[in-house]
């Protein structure tokens, strides 16, 4: 394919910026996403109430966040815990809530999946990609999901086929399409390279 060709289903992530028109703000971050939250607080602090849930891992911005976030900061120790907190907090949220997410792509779409059950559309969530470009892959053959693929070709966790990682992304599944690379010529694999570090 020539220059300029790209698959439009692939999400584009931006730097987080406060939305002034809101009744409240909810910020969800994981690991290095903490820095994205600190960058948010470098901007004007909103008038409306702000809630921040931060899952710390190997990089820890919790200490700094505690100094910067006026109130409403909840530090948890894993993505799973964060998702549980999110489920607990959402019923008390009201129309006009703005949601901001910063973390790995896997994290962003896990959060989006939970928010969808509360009627929050994916397009209305502000997203910043941090930590890693690692991809979640949906095997189109056996339907298994494989996480943290950092290479152009990855092994399916379900059927062990070697999958070419396409740029085609499903928001519904939160995953890129993986297609068997050597179906036409079994065993012939191109060089496997890390391209999503």
């Amino acid at each position: 394919m020539e220059r300029g060709y790209w698959i439009k289903s692939k999400p584009v992530y931006n730097a987080l910026v406060w939305h002034e028109k809101a009744t409240a703000h909810l910020v969800l971050a994981q690991n290095q996403g903490g820095l994205a939250v600190l960058k948010l607080f470098q901007q004007m602090q909103p008038q409306q109430p702000v809630t921040v849930i931060y899952a710390q891992h190997d990089t820890d911005y919790a200490k700094t966040l505690k100094k910067v976030v006026p109130d409403g900061l909840d530090v948890v120790s894993s993505e799973q815990e964060l998702l549980v907190s999110l489920k607990n907090i959402m019923p008390s949220m009201r129309m006009g809530l703005r949601v901001y997410v910063a973390g790995s792509e896997g994290f962003i779409w896990s959060v989006a999946e939970v928010l969808k059950t509360f009627g929050v559309e994916e397009a209305d969530i502000m997203k910043e990609l941090t930590d890693t470009l690692a991809r979640t892959i949906y095997c189109v053959h056996c339907k298994a999901i494989t996480h943290n693929i950092t290479t152009n070709i990855g092994k399916c966790s379900g059927c062990a086929r070697m999958l070419f990682v396409r740029d085609h992304f499903s928001r519904h599944l939160g995953a890129y399409m993986g297609l068997m690379i050597d179906a036409e010529s079994p065993g012939e694999l191109p060089e496997i390279e890390e391209i999503y570090p």
Binding site: M1, K143, R166, S170, R171, M177, S185
Partner: protein, 346 residues
């Protein structure tokens, strides 16, 4: 006129073939010597007698065999049917549209009797007769879209209209040209057409979307799309790519006329009355190169179209391996005669 339904297969031994009449009515998609994407949408009005556009939904000699093939594919992979929960109104709309059209256009094969909401549907070619309450899913053995979708040739996607775009929120897809319903379900128009090369640059997808958002009840539209497939295989899905991908290696100069098929999709779109959803119907027609060459003007036209095909489209349509061989094979039919614009075989 009663149809003679053929016994044939679309997998393994591939006994599929077209009768002389089926070849003559084949929806040849190239009116000009060159091809590029365009918004080639036109009103789905009644076509000439015997043509594939004579009726709302075309039923032909392959009907029974295609329904059997669809059943096999769905048994092996139930994920070929998907319907998000909010699409139930659209499902019943679909039942009303399809049963009504088939009963009206092919009364010797299909009948629909309504007593208020109690409907009796009879499908004679498939030996089905059921009475159910319209709008009550518990009175059918399957979801309504699944129930009747299995009794139709071709694929169907139900598009939900919201946020000024169309979402592919339900589908029954077993004869697709290498796209996955299980992966695409829930996608918006732009996401789902994301991989099509050149079309976005040309603005084709945006214009087509604009057109479809204005689609009115009772004024369906249609277009033709095409690709090439090795063997008369309906299920060229990405799911089963490991099974059919290597077929491309089997093409050689001797067998190409039998093996390589032009695959034409008659795509029709209908606005539905209750749900405001849109039915996207994709009806697949297959013909091998030998049968195309029965009509010299088709062979000449296909030769010119393929010879000048954009390299991105050769790759996107999966023709890379056999494309030069196909152009060579077709060249012997082309004397360079000027062809009038049009697709008629003679």
């Amino acid at each position: 006129m009663a149809l003679n339904f053929k016994k044939e297969t679309f997998r393994e031994d591939y006994t599929y073939s077209n009768s002389d009449a089926a070849i003559k009515r084949f929806p040849f998609p190239f009116p000009e010597d060159q091809y590029m994407y365009s918004v080639n949408i036109e009103p789905h009005t009644k076509g000439k007698q015997g043509s594939v556009c004579e009726f709302t939904f075309d039923i032909d000699e392959h009907y029974v065999a295609e329904c059997i093939d669809k059943k096999i594919t769905l048994e092996q992979d139930p994920g070929r049917y998907q319907a998000l929960p909010h699409m139930m109104d659209a499902q019943w709309d679909f039942v009303e549209l399809t049963m009504g059209a088939l009963a009206q256009d092919y009364p010797e094969h299909f009948t629909l009797q309504k007593q208020g909401l109690i409907w009796t549907w009879e499908n004679k070619p498939l030996g089905i007769k059921d009475t159910f309450t319209f709008g009550d899913t518990s009175t059918l053995a399957a979801e309504p879209f699944d129930y009747i979708g299995r009794q139709l040739q071709g694929d169907f996607v139900l598009l939900d209209h919201r946020d000024e775009t169309l979402y592919a929120d339900a589908g029954i897809v077993t004869s697709q040209a290498d796209w996955s319903l299980a992966f695409n379900v829930g996608m918006s128009w732009r996401e789902w057409h994301g991989p099509v090369p050149r079309a976005t640059e040309l603005g084709v997808m945006d214009r087509a979307l604009k057109y479809l958002l204005n689609l009115q009840i009772g004024s369906p539209v249609r277009r033709l799309n095409w690709t090439m497939t090795v063997n008369p295989r309906l299920d060229t899905s990405p799911e089963n790519y490991p099974h059919w991908g290597s077929d491309r290696n089997t093409v050689n100069a001797e067998n190409i006329g039998d093996l390589v098929h032009l695959r034409v999709e008659l795509q029709t779109l209908f606005r539905l009355p209750r749900s405001n959803a849109i039915v996207f119907s994709i009806r697949c027609y297959l013909i091998n190169l030998k049968d195309i060459a029965i009509y010299p003007c088709w062979a000449k036209r296909l030769h010119r179209v393929q010879k000048t095909m954009h390299p991105d489209l050769i790759e996107y349509k999966g023709m890379t391996k056999f494309h030069p061989m196909m152009v060579d094979w077709l060249a012997k039919f082309d004397d360079g005669e000027t062809l009038a614009i049009g697709t008629q075989p003679e």
